[in-house]
C-alpha cells in the first residue's frame, strides 16, 4: 500500500480539562539508528477509554509499549512520561513498580501455563500478598471484573491453557486488573478473537472504565468508535490527531485522519 505524503506538521491535538492519568511529552523511540517513533505528546484522561488507531506500522503499538516501559530492552526511548507528577521514563524509577501500576494486555492471549487461579495469584503473591482468603477474594473480584467468573468458577484449578481464545484473553485481563493498577494498556486485545468473544471483551471494557484508565490500540475503527471516549490517530510513526472519538469519526481536523476514517488511504 502506497501512502500519500502527508505533512507531519499538519496535526491537531484537542485539550480537555479533566483529570489526567498519564501525560507523555516528546516521546521518541529508536531501534538502533532507526528513528521509529516521533514526538509523542498525548494526555490520557482518568477513567476514560482512549483508543489509538492507525494502519499497521503506524507506531501505535510501539508508543503504547513505552507507557509501561516494555520497550526498555529492545529500544531506546527518550522524552517524558508523567505519571502522578513523576517522569517514569527514567532509569532511576523502579520499572517493576511502574508495571504494577500500569498493567498490560497483549494482542495474543498469553495466559501462564498454570491453573486459572495461579494465573491471577502468581504475581500477587510475588508482590507480597500471602493471605489465602484475601487471595481468593482477589481471584473472584478480578474474574468477575473480566466477566469470566461464571464460566470458570468451577474449574479454578484447571490449566488456563484449556480455555478458549476469548476466555483466555479475559483471563489475561483479569490477571492484569487483579494487580489493581491505575491504568490498563491494551494492545489490540480482540484482534485474535471471534466476533462473540470480541463483543464480550468490549462489554468488559465498558465495565472496567469506572475503575481504570484504559488506553487501547486497535485497528478496528468500529471498535474504537463503539467503546472509546477519546481517539488518537497515528501515522508512520507520528501521532497526528487527538480528539473526542465522535469528533474524530465525524469531522476530523487533519487530512490524513479523514482519509483513513473514510477508507481513502493510498
Amino acid at each position: 500500500m502506497a501512502f500519500k505524503d502527508y505533512d507531519f506538521n499538519d496535526t491537531y491535538f484537542a485539550t480537555f480539562d479533566d483529570e489526567k492519568a498519564l501525560v507523555t511529552k516528546d516521546i521518541q523511540v529508536y531501534y538502533g539508528d532507526n528513528h521509529a517513533f516521533h514526538d509523542g505528546n498525548l494526555s490520557f484522561s482518568r477513567n476514560k477509554i482512549t483508543a489509538l488507531i492507525g494502519a499497521s506500522g503506524s507506531g501505535k503499538s510501539t508508543y503504547l509499549r513505552c507507557l509501561n516501559r516494555m520497550n526498555d530492552d529492545v529500544a531506546r526511548v527518550t522524552g517524558q512520561i508523567m505519571y502522578r507528577g513523576m517522569n517514569i521514563n527514567s532509569s532511576d524509577v523502579n520499572v517493576y513498580e511502574v508495571r504494577s501500576h500500569i498493567g498490560m494486555v497483549f494482542q495474543r492471549p498469553n495466559p501462564f501455563a498454570k491453573s486459572i487461579r495461579e494465573n491471577i495469584t502468581f504475581a500477587l503473591k510475588q508482590h507480597g500478598l500471602k493471605n489465602k482468603s484475601e487471595l481468593d477474594k482477589r481471584v473472584e473480584e478480578s474474574l468477575r471484573g473480566a466477566s469470566l467468573w461464571d464460566e470458570v468458577k468451577d474449574r479454578l484449578d484447571k490449566s488456563a491453557l484449556s480455555l478458549s481464545g476469548g476466555q483466555a484473553q479475559r483471563l489475561c485481563i483479569a490477571r492484569a486488573i487483579a494487580m489493581k493498577p491505575d491504568i490498563l494498556l491494551m494492545d489490540e486485545p480482540a484482534s485474535a478473537l471471534d466476533p462473540i468473544s470480541t463483543k464480550n471483551i468490549e462489554n468488559t471494557l465498558n465495565q472496567l472504565k469506572k475503575d481504570y484508565t484504559i488506553i487501547i490500540v486497535t485497528h478496528n475503527m468500529q471498535q474504537a468508535s463503539r467503546i472509546s471516549d477519546y481517539t488518537s490517530f497515528f501515522h508512520l510513526g507520528h501521532a497526528l490527531e487527538f480528539d473526542r472519538t465522535e469528533r474524530i469519526f465525524t469531522n476530523p481536523h487533519v487530512k490524513a485522519t479523514e482519509d483513513y476514517i473514510s477508507g481513502n488511504f493510498g
Binding site: 516494555m70 497483549f106 501455563a113 491453557l161 490477571r175
Partner: protein
C-alpha cells in the same frame, strides 16, 4: 516433479530410514540383552566382584554408578541451569556470546581421557581429593556441562516470548519470570537433557580410570555416616562404576568368567538406564503437571 509424487517418495524415504534405524537399534539392544540376561541373577546383583575367581557380582559397581550419577548431577545441573538461563535469557546476541557457545561446544569434543587426565592432575593430585567419587563427579561434570547447558538453553528458548512479556507486564522481575513461569514449561526438554547426560555418566569409562578409579574397596551399606571411609555414602572413597568394571574385565580381567560378567553387566546397565530414563520422564511429567496445572 509433481509435488504429490515427491511427497510420496519423501515419505517412503523417511519410513525406510526410520525402519533401518529401528532395525539397527533393535539388533544392538537385543544383542546386549540376549547375551547378557542369562548371566543376571540375584547373586550377581548382590555380591561383590572377584578379581581372579569366577562367580563375582557387581553390587558395589552398580551402586557406585548410581551414586556417581547423583553426585555429578548435583554438581553439574545447577551450573548448567545458571549458564543455560544466562545464554537463553540474559546474553546479548553478539560475537562474545557466540564465542562462549563455541568454547562450550569445543569442550564436548575433547576425548574423555584428556579430561580424565586433566582432572587427575588438578583435582586428584593438586587439590588432594584423591581417587574418589567426588573427583569422578567433577570430571564427568566437564562432559555434562556442554550438553546439559545446551539443552537447557534450547528448552528455555523454545518457550514463547509472550510468556516473558506477560510476566514483565505484571511487574515481575525477569528472574522471577524465568524461574516461576518459563522454567516449568521447559521441564520436559530439560529432563531429556538430563537423561542424555546421565547416559554419558553411566557409560563413561576412560575419564573415570584416572579420577574415580578402577577399584571398588569393600563398603558397608549399614554405615550412613558419609564421613566414614567405609560408608557407602562417603564421596571421598575410590569407586569403580559399572562401565569401568566392564572395561576392566574386558581388557585386563583374569577371572575365568570375564565375558559372562561383561555381558551380564552390560545388560544390567541397559536395564538400569531404562529404569532411570522412565523414572526421570515420569518425575518430570509429574513435576510439569504440578507446576503447570495440566492434567
Amino acid at each position: 516433479m509433481n509435488p504429490k509424487i515427491a511427497n510420496k517418495i519423501a515419505d517412503a524415504v523417511i519410513y525406510i530410514l526410520v525402519a533401518i534405524v529401528v532395525i539397527i537399534l533393535a539388533l544392538l539392544i537385543g544383542f546386549i540383552l540376549i547375551t547378557g540376561i542369562p548371566h543376571i541373577s540375584w547373586h550377581f546383583l548382590t555380591s561383590v566382584s572377584q578379581s581372579f575367581s569366577a562367580g563375582g557380582g557387581i553390587r558395589d559397581q552398580l551402586f557406585n554408578s548410581i551414586y556417581l550419577l547423583i553426585l555429578t548431577l548435583i554438581i553439574s545441573f545447577p551450573i548448567a541451569l545458571g549458564s543455560g538461563i544466562y545464554l537463553a535469557e540474559y546474553a546479548p546476541k553478539n560475537w562474545f556470546t557466540s564465542l562462549i557457545q563455541t568454547a562450550i561446544e569445543v569442550l564436548s569434543s575433547l576425548p574423555s581421557i584428556i579430561v580424565g587426565l586433566f582432572c587427575y592432575l588438578l583435582f586428584v593430585i593438586e587439590f588432594q581429593l584423591g581417587f574418589s567419587i567426588l573427583s569422578g563427579a567433577i570430571a564427568l561434570t566437564f562432559f555434562n556441562l556442554p550438553l546439559l547447558t545446551r539443552s537447557i538453553q534450547e528448552s528455555l528458548e523454545s518457550v514463547p516470548d509472550l510468556q516473558r512479556q506477560a510476566g514483565a507486564s505484571l511487574g515481575l522481575s525477569r528472574w522471577k519470570t524465568i524461574t516461576g513461569i518459563i522454567f516449568p514449561i521447559a521441564i520436559p526438554g530439560i529432563i531429556t537433557g538430563i537423561i542424555l547426560s546421565a547416559g554419558r555418566v553411566f557409560g563413561e569409562a576412560a575419564a573415570l580410570i584416572y579420577t574415580a578409579g578402577e577399584s571398588a574397596p569393600a563398603i558397608s551399606y549399614s554405615n550412613f555416616n558419609p564421613f566414614n571411609p567405609a560408608s557407602f555414602l562417603n564421596p571421598m572413597r575410590p569407586a569403580e562404576t559399572l562401565a569401568v568394571h566392564i572395561w576392566k574385565v574386558n581388557t585386563e580381567g583374569v577371572t575365568p568368567d570375564a565375558s559372562q560378567i561383561s555381558s551380564g553387566s552390560s545388560a544390567v546397565l541397559i536395564i538400569v538406564i531404562l529404569i532411570f530414563n522412565l523414572g526421570a520422564h515420569y518425575l518430570g511429567k509429574h513435576l510439569y503437571d504440578k507446576m503447570t496445572a495440566s492434567k
